[in-house]
């Protein structure tokens, strides 16, 4: 945690941490505290008076069918993005780890989407899936399938899931590739000598040895899908149609800025903060364990 040999100075260390701490206090801790406090009050629409209501805001939230629906939408979305993105990137990483010729060219053409903003990724897919002129919608129509995500909620959710997963593939790919490259070649060779085929070798050696990477990515992808995809939803479906893509982070924004329900929005913030906190703890616990391996 710290050096054996350190410097001594009365005020310098405080001056060095000060900028970071001041920004943290003003823009992180103070607003979080405000959210916590507001969540126990009901405020009138003009902000003139407010009344202590205890846990009433939370009770109202969990009694609200649209909020509970938003919860399940978030879970379906999060699991969908994670499963889709991780399975595609694992397949690509295994393949890229196998090729020798033009390996770098493949890597280059797979990693660049990391740099694309989630909002831009959303807009790209929004265009391709546009019911009247999108190329995918046109192809699907050719196959006899009606695509209209402006009306069909499931299709809208599928669209944002694919867009969010598309953007995340490059990230997962790099980590899987790094994980694969750290597996000792001798293990694979030993298995090959014992006449285990490529498929058998993958499932009984490579995949289990990758499990630390897989677990790490699982948490990171869920965090990404739950909290970083606000922009993707906001730039494309706006939570619609009929709240079908209104995930929790979108709903906080909507309740607060559009619905002007400050107490309700603050209560949602508190719930989300607890979720992030739980996931961060899981992630760090795990990282610690890996260090001790």
């Amino acid at each position: 945690m710290q050096k054996r040999v350190t410097f001594r100075h009365r005020w310098l260390p405080y001056a060095l941490v000060a900028p970071q701490i001041v920004v943290t206090l003003i823009f992180f801790i103070w607003p979080a505290y405000q959210a916590l406090e507001t969540s126990f009050y009901i405020e009138d629409a003009f902000g003139f008076s407010r009344e202590w209501v205890g846990l009433e805001n939370f009770r109202a939230l969990f009694a609200d069918a649209t909020y509970m629906a938003s919860f399940s939408t978030t879970i379906v979305f999060g699991l969908g993005v994670t499963a889709l993105s991780m399975s595609i990137s694992l397949a690509l990483a295994v393949a890229a780890n196998r090729v020798i010729r033009s390996a770098l060219a493949y890597q280059t053409s797979i990693i660049w989407p990391y740099a694309v903003a989630p909002a831009v990724a959303g807009v790209l897919w929004h265009f391709m899936m546009n019911p009247s002129l999108g190329i995918f919608a046109y192809w699907l129509e050719g196959l006899g399938y009606e695509w209209n995500h402006y009306v069909n909620g499931d299709q809208a959710l599928l669209m944002v899931t694919v867009a969010a997963a598309w953007k995340q593939i490059s990230y997962n790919f790099l980590f899987f590739l790094a994980g694969l490259q750290s597996i000792p070649k001798s293990l694979i060779e030993a298995a090959a000598i014992d006449r285990a085929g490529p498929v058998r070798r993958f499932w009984s050696i490579v995949f289990p040895l990758l499990s630390p990477t897989t677990f790490f990515l699982l948490v990171v992808n869920l965090v990404y899908a739950f909290f970083d995809t606000f922009s993707l939803i906001h730039a494309t479906t706006n939570g619609g149609p009929a709240n079908a893509t209104s995930i929790l982070v979108y709903k906080v924004y909507n309740t607060g800025f559009v619905g002007q329900d400050y107490g309700g929005s603050a209560a949602q913030s508190v719930i989300l903060m607890l979720m992030v906190a739980a996931m961060t703890v899981v992630q760090f616990r795990y990282v610690e364990r890996r260090v001790n391996y």
Partner: protein
């Protein structure tokens, strides 16, 4: 490769090509659409090959902007994005490296308290506490300013951890040697620690530049005046521009322009980027 299996090689390459196609096709469509006029994009199926309006569309976008989206030239939005991304990246690195230095190389009261305070920011992304943060910005009168766009995002737990991690690997003998030569703490920091961290700083800069450029929610809240719009949030004004039909050739042109700088950064500094990304999370 363990053994020679020609059919497996074929499958491997086919799979990779399929994946590359899946990743590149949306961008291909955006590039193609941005070179056509509105007529070509008004009926299905839309063209899959470039049109001849590319020059016109892009010069209109860069210099003139869209009346539907408030008429801000996209060139100006890109400049705003660039300023914001640079301020965030440089700010985060500067603030984090000195904080990590203090935490690793000094012993002082509340050291661990500060460390945990920085750690907690990981659990408080802007998205989950939008309203109160907006409130703070309003009270500090930071709406519509570059300070408002960048300062709240400058605290960084991950960057601080990365530098801390790196400093812990630097041999203690360096400090001892510096002290024998009567170098003070700032001298040691500027002349030894910063030069040693050069690669880490560069790798981190790439990641943070992309992070800054791709900000969306924050500029959306902080900017109400059009001259502070950034490109990534500006696209949204075009897709949701009310009753008017979306002008897809311009939207896709803007999307392409929004992608070019960060993608170029990744591609031109691929090695550093991969190193920075994979090590940052460890």
């Amino acid at each position: 490769m363990i053994e020679n299996r020609p059919w497996l090689n074929v499958i491997t390459h086919a799979g990779l090509l399929l994946g590359v196609f899946f990743l590149c096709f949306p961008v291909w469509m955006a590039l193609v659409a941005s070179t056509h006029g509105p007529e070509a994009l008004s009926r299905s199926p839309i063209p899959l090959w470039f049109g001849d309006r590319g020059w016109e569309n892009y010069s209109q976008l860069l210099a003139g902007g869209l009346p539907e989206a408030g008429g801000v030239p996209v060139g100006m939005m890109m400049l705003n994005s660039l300023i914001m991304a640079l301020l965030i990246a440089v700010g985060k690195i500067a603030v984090s490296i000195i904080a990590a230095y203090a935490i690793v190389y000094f012993r002082f009261p509340f050291r661990m308290g500060f460390f945990w305070m920085i750690f907690i920011t990981l659990m408080l992304p802007v998205e989950v506490r939008i309203l109160p943060t907006y409130d703070v910005i309003v009270r500090l009168d930071m709406l519509n300013s570059y300070t408002g766009l960048s300062l709240p995002l400058v605290a960084s737990a991950t960057a601080t951890f990365l530098f801390r991690q790196f400093f812990l690997t630097i041999p203690d003998e360096l400090v001892e040697a510096a002290r024998i030569d009567r170098a003070g703490p700032m001298r040691f920091f500027m002349d030894i620690l910063v030069p040693l961290s050069r690669t880490n700083i560069a790798a981190l800069f790439i990641i943070l530049f992309i992070f800054g450029w791709n900000q969306y929610l924050w500029p959306l809240l902080v900017t109400t005046e059009e001259r502070y719009y950034t490109i990534v949030m500006g696209i949204q004004r075009m897709t949701n521009s009310g009753e008017a039909l979306p002008v897809w050739h311009y939207i896709m042109g803007t999307a392409v322009l929004a992608m070019i700088p960060p993608v170029l950064v990744v591609l031109s500094m691929q090695k550093l980027f991969v190193k920075g990304l994979v090590e940052q999370e460890k």
